[in-house]
């Protein structure tokens, strides 16, 4: 029955990888999980190519062009897409830059430092171009499930994943719903 394993992909967009750390906090439960699912593209597998998946888990919001491309690809290839953590759900801490013009953010970072010579805003095409604001991912693609928390605890993730895999409706206990 190995064929019936569900394929899961994960990625971190504009986030801090904290949600992925929380995923690792599943500890020995990861073994149980590994029996039920196979990880496709994910920082955990270090696979860079995304295959056709059953479940995609997204950490982080949308801040640049690369985030958009990754998110669109996940949406196209994953049957179920999950927003994990505060940044994916509402932009989170990175979205606090939305208080400022992009120009001010970039100038503060690249041109106003002390001792800079020929200071300029980087324009290398290798660097993903920034959007004027950071957005949660549900403003760009349809999201099927939201898993709040900064990060959601390992217990929260476990409850969610086991319910989802069992085909049950998602019902998190009170102590597992957090925005912080």
């Amino acid at each position: 029955m190995i064929e019936s394993k569900l394929k899961v992909a994960t990625c971190s967009l504009c986030g801090c990888f904290g949600c992925h750390m929380s995923l690792l906090d599943l500890d020995e439960r990861l073994f149980d999980l590994a029996e039920k699912v196979e990880f496709d593209r994910s920082p955990l597998t270090d696979l860079k190519e995304l295959g056709e998946c059953d479940i995609g888990i997204i950490e982080g919001g949308i801040a640049n062009v690369e985030n958009v491309h990754t998110l669109l690809e996940f949406r196209a290839r994953c049957k179920i897409l999950i927003a994990m953590g505060a940044c994916a759900i509402s932009g989170g801490i990175p979205a606090m830059r939305n208080h400022y013009e992009l120009k001010d953010c970039l100038e503060e970072s690249y041109t106003r430092g002390i001792g800079l010579v020929d200071a300029q805003i980087p324009n290398d095409p290798e660097i993903p171009l920034l959007l004027d604001q950071v957005h949660p991912i549900h403003e760009v693609v349809k999201i099927d499930y939201f898993l709040p928390g900064c990060p959601p605890s390992a217990d929260t993730i476990w409850t969610f994943v086991t319910q989802l895999l069992a085909g049950q409706p998602i019902a998190l206990p009170y102590t597992q719903i957090h925005y912080d």
């Binding site: 509402s90 709040p148 009170y174 102590t175 719903i177 925005y179 912080d180």
Partner: protein, 246 residues
């Protein structure tokens, strides 16, 4: 024999006195109806609409609707809960509620009510308004990003403190809380942390500058038990995890 008048709330019989609102009667009977702009110490305001209930089939704000004998009131039904969730989602996208960066997190009534109604995400498109932070006062901080326009601080300052420190200006989506001085700065007022106005905010808009994160995240007021069990943060003493400075 004069029998006390009654109505039913989700099937339970609730007695009330003449002139009481549905909210007040429910509160007296120990039944929780979620709310934000309502605080039993103040005249009902009816602006947040979170305390909506179905009264004889029609949606009404329980904090402003007078109780009447024989009313059939429904509160914890899917239809009402969905609308409440929608209202919470509106409040979350209207302001900038970055819970991970807020000292009030875990002891915040807005957050607790959102937990209570089962809000997992703000759903709507975020407005990301650009609002200032006022750190001009020696002891208190105002982060306007978190204001939900409940006007509790406005009412408390006017009615209890007699200072009239706050006001709401602007129309529609431009409505915003202001400090009632020519400079608009809290530092220019006689506001004090012992004011009632400093203790009634249901969000993290008005905070003390000199204490923070004394109770770790995860062990805070609403981290383990929901608001219907714990009660409103403004009504609790510090020893119970509340924020009263008196």
């Amino acid at each position: 024999m004069s029998e006390e008048p009654r109505f039913t709330l989700d099937g339970r019989t609730v007695p009330f006195q003449d002139g009481q609102t549905i909210m007040a009667a429910a509160l007296a009977a120990g039944i929780y109806i979620p709310h934000l702009c309502f605080n039993p110490e103040f005249t009902p305001h009816g602006s947040c609409r979170v305390c909506l209930v179905k009264v004889n089939g029609r949606m009404q704000a329980s904090c402003t609707t007078p109780a009447a004998a024989g009313q059939v009131v429904q509160s914890e039904i899917d239809e009402v809960r969905e609308i409440r969730r929608g209202l919470l989602q509106m409040l979350f996208v209207e302001g900038n509620h970055v819970c991970p960066a807020c000292e009030k997190s875990g002891a915040c009534q807005l957050q607790a009510v959102a937990y209570y109604v089962g809000m997992l995400a703000p759903h709507y498109t975020h407005f990301y308004p650009r609002r200032p932070v006022d750190a001009s006062h020696p002891d208190a901080l105002i982060d306007f990003n978190r204001c939900i326009l409940c006007e509790l601080c406005v009412r408390a300052s006017r009615e209890v403190d007699g200072k009239n420190v706050f006001a709401v200006q602007g129309r529609g989506i431009k409505a915003h809380l202001v400090v009632n001085t020519p400079s608009g700065k809290l530092g220019a007022t006689d506001f004090s942390l012992s004011d009632k106005a400093a203790q009634v905010c249901p969000t993290g808009t008005i905070l003390s500058k000199h204490s923070g994160y004394e109770i770790p995240i995860g062990q805070r007021l609403y981290d383990r038990k929901p608001i219907n069990v714990v009660g409103d943060v403004a009504a609790l003493a510090v020893s119970k995890g509340g924020r009263r400075h008196d």
